[in-house]
Amino acid sequence: MSTAPVSHRRASTLRGASLPKWSPWAIAVGSVAVAAGIGLGAGLDSKVQWGLIAAILFVLGTYAIAARVEGRRQAKDRVATSLVWVCFIVAVVPLASLIWETVKRGVKVFDVYFLTHSMGVVADTQPGGGIYHAIIGTLEQVAIATLIAVPIGVLTAIYLVEYGRGKLAKAVTFFVDVMTGIPSIVAGLFILSFWILILDMGYSGFAGSLALSILMMPVVVRSTEEMLKLVPNELREASLALGIPKWRTILKVVLPTSIGGITTGVMLAVARITGETAPVLLLVWGTSVINDNPFSDPQASLPLYIYQQYANSAGSGAAYDRAWAAALALIAFVMILNLAARGIARWKAPKTGR
């Protein structure tokens, strides 16, 4: 092997010529450079166009070079790999730039004072003020919506997986699917006409929670359903064969086995409704003072605060900065929820270690 001359390498039927390991990086750098050259030469302003040209050059270049050196089959393999990478980057770039922009603009006024004060004595165009009233509002509205939606959603899922047979189960599944597609503004209008116009209740955090729970319920049902279906039937049979009634089997065997996944699903649903603006705008109305009581009088909430600060900024830099800082707080809140969900899922997952 060590004495075999280089020219004999091609003779082996198992070993073909192959590109060096660094070649994808070289092709990537090369295509970015060429794309920049084309962009400058043709006078394209948009960096997005440069990026697209670079991506196309990267995929085509990979194919052309690999087909020349390694053959067509390996070239197809490399093209598939490069496409995956390009798609990954296309997906990550907006996300990263969104977080970057929010942090960059948000940190200007983001401090303890901002988190612990309301807008009660500050006009929208003045500097100062904070989001305390909006945080209180968001926490209360989301908590109440969760308290309404999670029991109903989880019990519906248990019915569908453990008991549901025939027409009723099919109808429930169908309506859950329909509910998943309800736009948030429609949910808001529904509660507005029912709660505020017909029952003649006032604007309140609770009215917003009702609309949010409508949005949350189908998400909880769907994710819980999938998690319950993952519980092996053998465990249910093992429990039933011990003479344990069905309801205790569900409570003590099926739910504990799937609790990690259910928690993750609930947290994702919470994260989703936390950012909803439309129903809150219609039903909670918004306020600049602290209102701890979600059951009467308008409250604030983070997405609504962001919208109002931006809409009322009237060229004022202060309101604009506050909107970005509130957006940062909202993203941080959702991210903390997601991390908590992952932590709980890992902690509660069935243990396999010895």
Partner: protein, 258 residues
């Protein structure tokens, strides 16, 4: 505490499909009865009708009588949950509860059925694990998850879990088919010990196993694919394996099938 089972004219369905037809037999107390026969002949289905697990499958229903001593398990007002407490079951694949420790797995049947004192529970768990020949291997790690045990240990854990609720009858659905020969031997020895206290019914594909562990053997067969399974004959194991009275049994046992 071991009881006799008398089955007469039992037919079981999955929806419209008739899985087994007109089976009658007697299972003697404090003995091991083995069910043998080709795949799909309804051995497992018949076993599951004996503790009303058949009806857990959607569409599953049963006609005929199963008498436990003198009480019909399918009679009016009989609670299937109570039946399953009296007639325990061990499954083909070991299935310990993944969220529970070894201790909790064994205690599950008791704890989920009623309230017991902590000391009472530990006594029963220790007795059951000893009864399943597993105590010495796990006594130092009762709080570790049951899924961390080897396959053979898991199956013995499932047997301990089943005998902890003190059933009268123990049904075993191919309990060794997922295990290696050494674990199989451990379980076969265990069956020999358990038959002192329980009535045992075991489904097996392994004819040597049936010959080794059972006192009586029942041979099931089906006329053709799609036809319901039937009981061909049941007799003392020695007789079935040396001088069966039906030609089909001899063909199956000696490998000349069909």
């Amino acid at each position: 505490m071991a009881k006799r089972i008398d089955v007469s004219g039992l037919t079981a369905y999955y929806g419209a499909h008739k899985a087994i037809e007109d089976i009658s037999m007697t299972v003697e107390p404090r003995s091991v009865t083995a069910f043998i026969g080709p795949s799909g002949c309804g051995k497992s289905t018949f076993l599951r009708t004996l503790n009303r697990m058949h009806e857990v499958t959607p569409g599953g229903r049963v006609e005929g009588k199963v008498l436990l001593d003198d009480e019909d398990l399918y009679g009016n007002g009989i609670d299937p949950v109570a039946v399953r407490r009296t007639i325990g079951m061990v499954f083909q694949r070991p299935n310990p509860f993944p969220t529970m420790s070894i201790f909790d797995n064994v205690a599950a049947g008791l704890r989920l059925n009623g309230s017991y004192k902590k000391s009472e529970l530990s006594d029963i768990v220790e007795r059951s694990l000893k009864g399943a020949n597993l105590w010495n291997e796990v006594k130092d790690r009762l709080n570790k998850p049951g899924s961390g045990l080897s396959g053979g240990q898991q199956q013995r854990l499932c047997i301990a879990r089943a005998i902890a609720v003190e059933p009268q009858v123990l049904l075993m659905d191919e309990p060794c088919s997922a295990l290696d020969p050494i674990s199989t031997l451990a379980i076969e020895d265990l069956i020999g010990e358990l038959k002192e206290r329980f009535t045992i019914v075991i489904v097996t594909h392994n004819m040597q196993q049936a010959a080794r562990v059972s006192d009586r053997t029942a041979f099931f067969n089906l006329a053709a694919v799609g036809q319901p399974g039937r009981l061909i004959e049941i007799d003392d194991t020695e007789r079935i394996f040396s001088n069966p009275s039906v030609q089909a049994t001899e063909d199956y046992i000696s490998g000349r099938f069909g």
